[in-house]
């Protein structure tokens, strides 16, 4: 798990902040295995018969909250992207209104899209 996270961060496909979060999750899972008595205690507290049920229950709640958090972040990003795209479109129009593009402008090297 840790090696996958390292690989993704090195390839810039995962940001450090999220990598730290997943490493934290890994440490938490190790902690649960290390302090097995603690898991048994929590199982007796919530009334589950086996510690596996406790693990699945908390795992399920955790994944549910994580999905909610990602949905919130996705919504924020979508709103930001919409505002950004609108601003880009409007600024381009204002610019063209003040300095209309001349024929052949798109052929100039500065206007060529970068590969």
């Amino acid at each position: 798990m840790v090696s996958i996270i390292f690989y993704l961060v090195r390839k810039r496909r995962l940001r450090e902040e999220y990598a730290l979060f997943w490493i934290g999750c890994g440490i938490l899972m190790l902690g649960v295995i290390w302090f097995y008595q603690g898991l048994l205690f929590v199982s007796s507290l919530i009334g589950s018969v086996t510690p596996t049920t406790t693990l699945f229950l908390f795992g399920f709640i955790f994944v549910l909250l994580l999905c909610l958090k990602i949905s919130v972040r996705l919504s924020q990003l979508k709103t930001q992207m919409k505002i950004l795209a609108q601003e880009v479109a409007l600024i381009t129009t204002y610019k063209d209104e003040h300095h209309p593009p001349e024929p052949g402008d798109s052929e100039k090297p500065c206007n060529k899209p970068t590969p």
Partner: protein, 237 residues
């Protein structure tokens, strides 16, 4: 200013824009190209109207909001919005602007049901319109016959509200009218002619109408929960 949001509507714009230019030569026209892949932008530019092009498709609500932002920046006192697909009658633009210009209302809403010459939508859409008509009346107390109409004229008060963050990106319909009511905006319905759209509806796909109904009900619920928030901001618009 006349705002026309367009997504892959080059063919329809070729017919609509000359009509608009001939009928209202003094009125500034803005086409919001919502990331079209066809010649929408080129056709609009050829007709010498202002064009704002989104870098990619953002949806009808976002496209029309870009138009409102442009109109607000250009300090236009009145704005009319109409669809590019030939559904709305160019002649009726003047009918919509008139009451807003005279200060009789803040928003003039074109209604196809107040004009006998208009087409009648298919029954699933009629059921949806009737349903939201009932809900809108229940919440606002104001009878609005065509809450899904996209043929509207408005003043700067409405523009300020529509450029805010509570304007939906996808389908601005009954929820927006309820929001305006909470802001204390006066709405007047005007009989207009509407024709069947020549392009595919945004509700194509069997699941779309169900999604639209569910989404709109939820949006109305959220708008109602923000009633106090909108009422407190009445004086700021």
């Amino acid at each position: 200013m006349l705002i026309i949001p367009a997504y892959n509507e080059a063919k329809d714009l070729q017919v609509l824009l000359p009509k608009v230019k001939a009928r209202y030569p003094e009125m500034p026209v803005l086409v919001v190209d919502d990331g079209s892949q066809d010649q929408t932008r080129a056709i609009a530019q050829a007709q010498q109207v202002a064009v704002v092009s989104h870098p990619f498709n953002l949806g009808y609500g976002a496209a029309i909001q870009t138009g409102y932002k442009y109109a607000l920046e250009k300090q236009c006192p009145y704005v009319v919005q109409m669809d590019a697909d030939g559904q709305h009658e160019v002649e009726d633009v003047a009918l919509l602007v008139q009451p807003v210009k005279q200060g009789l209302c803040d928003l003039a809403l074109g209604s196809r049901f107040l004009n006998d010459a208009s087409y009648r939508p298919a029954w699933p859409r009629r059921v949806g319109i009737r349903f939201f008509r009932g809900i809108t009346k229940l919440i606002t107390g104001q009878p609005i016959t065509d809450p899904t109409s996209g043929f509207q004229a408005m003043n700067r008060r409405v523009l300020q509200i529509f450029t805010g963050r509570h304007f939906p990106d996808d389908y601005p319909d009954a929820d927006v009218l309820v929001m305006l009511n909470f802001y204390g905006i006066t709405i007047q319905e005007i009989p207009v002619r509407m024709y069947a759209s020549t392009t595919r509806s945004m509700h194509h796909g069997w699941w779309r109408p169900f999604f639209y109904m569910a989404k709109m009900c939820f949006s109305l619920l959220i708008t109602c929960s923000l009633k106090g928030h909108f009422r407190r901001r009445r004086s700021s618009v």
